[in-house]
């Protein structure tokens, strides 16, 4: 089975802190994605990567950056966390852009 793991299920950070969210997949997938999910807004794509060291902006990249140094790992970085970044963050991977996406369990981030 494909496994996508995220570093934390729950995270509480203070405004202004630098936050790292880690995602690891074990199926040698080329493509990885970061989404955030908020009530009533569905899933919104933040960034995605289709290869090591490659990244593309999604719909809402502002306030975020990403890093993909190894194929299996895709990190989401909040340079200076703000309260409006309180959300559920979901990581996914797939062998192709619109093939089956496999999601991690999510990280619920609270910024106070």
């Amino acid at each position: 089975d494909v496994k996508v793991t995220q570093s934390s299920r729950y995270l509480v950070k203070r405004t202004g802190e630098k936050v790292f969210l880690e995602c690891v997949q074990d199926m040698d997938h080329e493509n990885m994605f970061w989404y955030r999910q908020d009530p009533g807004l569905g899933l919104r794509l933040i960034y995605f990567s289709y290869d090591v060291k490659m990244k593309e902006k999604g719909d809402i990249p502002e306030g975020y950056s990403v890093s993909r140094e190894k194929k299996e790992r895709f990190s989401l970085i909040l340079e200076s966390a703000s309260t409006n970044q309180t959300s559920m963050y979901l990581c996914a991977s797939t062998v192709g852009q619109y093939y089956e996406q496999y999601f991690g369990p999510g990280t619920r981030l609270t910024v106070t």
Binding site: G40, G42, L45, A92, Q97, E100, P105
Partner: protein, 114 residues
Amino acid sequence: LAKTTQPISMDSYEGQEVNITCSHNNIATNDYITWYQQFPSQGPRFIIQGYKTKVTNEVASLFIPADRKSSTLSLPRVSLSDTAVYYCLVGAPPLSGGSYIPTFGRGTSLIVHP
């Protein structure tokens, strides 16, 4: 990227067949249609994908008319455990001329009653 429109919510009862329709009027020639299911506090899970006509697997069926401007996800004989949010996505891999950005939208919240 083709935009999709789905009902915000639907209600059903155990044992009934549920059909959720997704509109995608500006679907491109290379685009595929993919449906996901999401339970509370979990990431979405792939259900089914199709390009035209009908696709069926052990979980659901997907009906796509000839003009491909809409699609219908059909869940046979739903149970309480089918209560979830269902998302319709339209797009294609970049190598086939599609867009990079998968868009989930708000989905359809299905509630199955006893």
